[in-house]
Amino acid sequence: MSKFSRMLRQALTVARRDFTATVFTPTFLLFLLAPVLMIGFGAVGGIGAQSIVGDDSQMKMVVIAPPSQAPTLIETDRQLRKLFPRKSEIMPPPLTVEAPQGDPAAQARAYFDSDKFDAAAVLYGPLDKPEILYARRGWTEAQFLTQLAEQSLRAQKLGNAEPLATVTQTAVKRGQGSPTGRGQAASIGVFAIFFLTLFLSGQAVGTMAEERSNKVIEILAAAVPLESVFFGKLIGMFGAAMLFVLFWATVLINATRLLPPEIAAGFPSVVAVIGAPTYALLFITYFTMSYMLLGAMFLSIGALTSTQRELQMLSLPITIFQMMMFGLALGAATRPGSWVEIAAQVFPFSSPFAMIGLAGSSPVIWPHLLALAWQALWVAIIITVGARVFRRGVLKSGSPKRKTKIEATI
């Protein structure tokens, strides 16, 4: 067995132990379902925020018009509502047509004091010279009533509110995605890899703590090169992270399929220039590299700490460092061709983020092959340096203090 394959076998043995020790615990279930908690808290927060902003379910628009005009107004309202996605937040509130009673102006003003509903806007007067009153946050509804009056008047003159044109609509899929879609593909890729790495790679910081506290490190160090221990632990943690990603990816993909078509249609045309399958492959690969790069660094730094307190103290600088890399990569995604983009692509820790951004906006493949080789080289460098520092600092395998020239002279 060659030296490399033996190191790989040893790394996989360590990885297997770490993976099973991480995954087959009740804590992992909590970790896996953590986003549910996040969504739950988000929903609770949303309800709270909505109660502060106000509930729109009691809102109505009112038109004061003779009963003879009511059918035309209602049909026109139905036609105009087709401009808005169904059940969307921008859909105007329901329309009520009320017959005039006495002074229409006073009647219209009275609706704003009604305890039965909240009047957003009220139209009264003849359709060619209507008066519209609207409450605070009722400006949009006032514009809707303006169009309602205009279109109803036209319908009255034509004698029919039904559409005159027979329109054929055909959905067309863009081959290369829109410029906006491309930009979104780049930004979404950067965001997604950043958040996944932020949530998942930070855990690598404490993985050596177990071995140090229970003295297993001595057994590992005697049997396996420290580089294999570090790499194995990284693979083990990455396996757990991938399980998390696959679980939630499956949930999200299936949840998206269950969405009503009109809501799904609301999503922008996010098409990466490089092509969906290649983009997906690059996304997974860059996530892997991003995890390995940052995880290797965190693992190496965390391995040198000797107490939980020191580990906890590291979480802030780690998060700040990740935010910096994210900022750099996002800057690169929004400034194609700039020095920021080149810097972000070359700097190893921001390179995966920046390169997935590039994959969203450029069809060229070779830079990715170069970047992946560059990133893999840095993973190896970080693991090697981390293992050496650990060997010297923790296992006390350092060289003797060399005498300075002055000491030697004395």
Partner: protein, 310 residues
């Protein structure tokens, strides 16, 4: 010393900061023997073993293990029980042993099977599916020891293997060491308890102050001290002193002294002729403990006792 060497080291030196904790250690361990590294606490035994195993690198010197230039290249052929015991507390015994074998290249499935057999033989068959954290310290230590032999290593390195074990488990461990030697393995172990070394070692090194002070067999070590005689006169115990060697000291109802170089016979004739008679006479070979004290120096041992008391 003849035959192939399992371990060879020349001029090993290790500094911790400015302190030279290992100071030019030479060790040659022939294959198939039980080899002891003896020394007081802080003598450099553990550091020497860690260098031999490649856990830490020596600052000077060379070593080889089972014919390999770097010990790590031989790691699949070596078993190791460190001084500071360590196991994953949430692992089951069988898995812990299989894991230690897998680190040394043994397939997991084979490791599990062998773990079952080893646990049964060690009287721990009931604990196969127990988690390590539920075991007593002594049981966990035995499990770790089984993990270090599960891959049937050619060389077994044990650092202070008897510390923390009760007499029953110490006996089990001695048996296991002998069984490993009978299997053909070389055993290199460190200890500062002479009784174990005396019973087990085919050869040994005594280290003190980071240097090897003695290398040879147990008998060689004993031979560094002359034999002692204990003589009990029949009459006039005090008066017999004039005929005895100068180092004679009173001990009970007799005298203890170094056996004369020309034997005991001439002295006995003188004592009988002098009318002291012989009520009792015993000739004692010095123990390894005495040889150890002489070799490392009483001061080193005093330091050790103080450390142990602390």
């Amino acid at each position: 010393m003849t035959g192939e060497l399992a371990v060879s080291a020349q001029g090993l030196v290790k500094y911790f900061g400015d302190r030279r904790v290992v100071d030019g250690v030479d060790i040659k361990v022939p294959k198939g023997l039980v080899y002891g590294v003896l020394g007081p606490n802080g003598a450099g035994k553990t550091t020497t073993l860690r260098m031999l195993l490649g856990i830490i690198e020596p600052d000077e010197g060379e070593r080889s293990m089972l014919g390999y230039g770097h010990p790590r290249d031989a790691s699949d052929l070596v078993g190791y029980l460190p001084e500071e015991r360590g196991l994953y507390p949430n692992m089951k015994c069988r898995e812990a042993i299989a894991f230690m074998g897998a680190l040394r290249g043994l397939p997991w499935a084979t490791g599990r099977k062998r773990a079952d057999t080893l646990l049964d033989n060690a009287g721990l068959g009931h604990a196969k599916d127990e988690k390590i954290r539920k075991l007593s310290k002594g049981m966990a230590q035995l499990v770790q020891l089984l993990g270090s032999v599960v891959h049937e290593p050619q060389l077994l390195v044990l650092d202070e293997p008897f510390s923390g074990l009760d007499p029953v488990n110490q006996e089990k461990l001695e048996k296991l060491i002998r069984a490993e030697r009978d299997r053909g393995a070389t055993i290199l172990f460190s200890t500062h308890v002479m009784a174990h070394a005396e019973r087990l070692c085919d050869r040994l090194s005594i280290i003190a102050g980071g240097k090897v002070r003695f290398e040879g067999t147990v008998n060689d070590a004993r031979a560094t001290l002359p034999m002692k005689a204990h003589y009990t006169p029949h009459h006039n115990v005090e008066g017999a002193h004039v005929l005895l060697p100068a180092d004679a000291v009173r001990e009970g109802d007799g005298w203890r002294f170094t056996l004369p170089a020309n034997g005991i016979e001439a002295l006995l004739v003188k004592l009988i002729d002098g009318g002291y008679g012989v009520s009792g006479l015993s000739i004692e070979r010095p123990g390894l403990h005495d040889a150890f004290v002489k070799i490392v120096g009483a001061d080193a041992l005093k330091d050790q006792d103080e450390e142990e008391a602390a």
